[in-house]
């Protein structure tokens, strides 16, 4: 994307942009920061807060397949349809091999973060007696990797979104059926 295209999109001429930004890199940096902020706010908003220790296990006992499906659907819908977030993800995907910083950003934001969250979640569900005792890290990997892969498919083929979302839902339900256990009676 050229500086002129950016300028057109804002409705001014390219050289005028230089009254607001030092150069193309500076524009990039500004978008980068803004988007990082927005994304962080969103992920915070949909995360169940995982308490420090195991006091509140009732919350985890109440998790249903429908709840998981709902959460995944909203995450994907937001990731796909928010203009900023969606384009930013593509950009990072494209630029991920450019520098160690961008590699780290990609891994951190699109892999590690979501995975750590689910690792914690499953760990607590295991502690609460509603999930099979398997390595939570591997469970999170098995749960998240398909989600991320299907998200990528939606990025490449938006017209298949419905079909992909169906597969996604089936995946979540299969996962739930495989690993969820009814809580033992107290």
């Amino acid at each position: 994307m050229s500086v002129e295209q950016i300028a057109d999109a804002v409705g001014i001429k390219a050289p005028s942009l230089y009254k607001h930004y030092k150069g193309k890199q500076d524009i990039f940096d500004a978008i980068f920061e803004e988007t990082a902020k927005r994304y962080g706010e969103f992920t915070d908003s949909i995360s169940v807060h995982l308490g420090d220790s195991g006091q509140d296990l009732a919350v985890f006992r109440a998790i249903t397949a429908d709840a998981l499906v709902e959460k995944v659907r909203s995450l994907i819908a937001y990731s796909l349809h928010d203009e900023f977030v969606s384009q930013f993800r593509r950009m990072v995907t494209i630029e991920q091999f450019r520098s160690p910083e961008l590699s780290a950003l990609y891994s951190q934001r699109y892999v590690a973060q979501i995975q750590q969250y689910h690792e914690g979640l499953f760990q607590r569900m295991i502690a609460a007696g509603v999930m099979r005792r398997e390595n939570p890290e591997l469970l999170a990997l098995m749960y998240d990797a398909p989600i991320l892969l299907l998200l990528g498919e939606c990025d490449r083929h938006p017209e298949k979104e419905n079909e992909i979302m169906d597969t996604l839902e089936k995946h979540v339900r299969l996962f739930y059926r495989l690993f969820h256990e009814e809580p033992a009676e107290e």
Copy 2:
């Protein structure tokens, strides 16, 4: 990458390249074809041929966790260490949003192909009575997505390869343990 950089890498000057190729696009196409060929040869070489119908189920009864681990290890090792294949994958990753053709190429080669293979494999293992009767498409997704995700991690962080390979092995073994069943006696 500029034409001059390509020329440098070969040890000649940029204009000399035009004695061998019509232009930059032509160089791209040549790399493309060559790599497609190599990759195809390799994947053929490690694939168990899945016969048309179910005559040969003994092969599928004999599949062990070790065999799966071995197959995955060799696939990943090849994908990472073959100069051509590795760089080509990065290129397609970067260019995947440029055109419908490249989107389709990425999805086809790095998602659908490997997944169809495992879908067929698991289907036959189910038919052979050595795998739980679950939707083979979802099984393939659960099996492959983590592999592909971890491959991406290796691309971004080659220094973590060993650690990632360990996780990968654990994943394969967990999958095997979860879904593999001993064959019923005849």
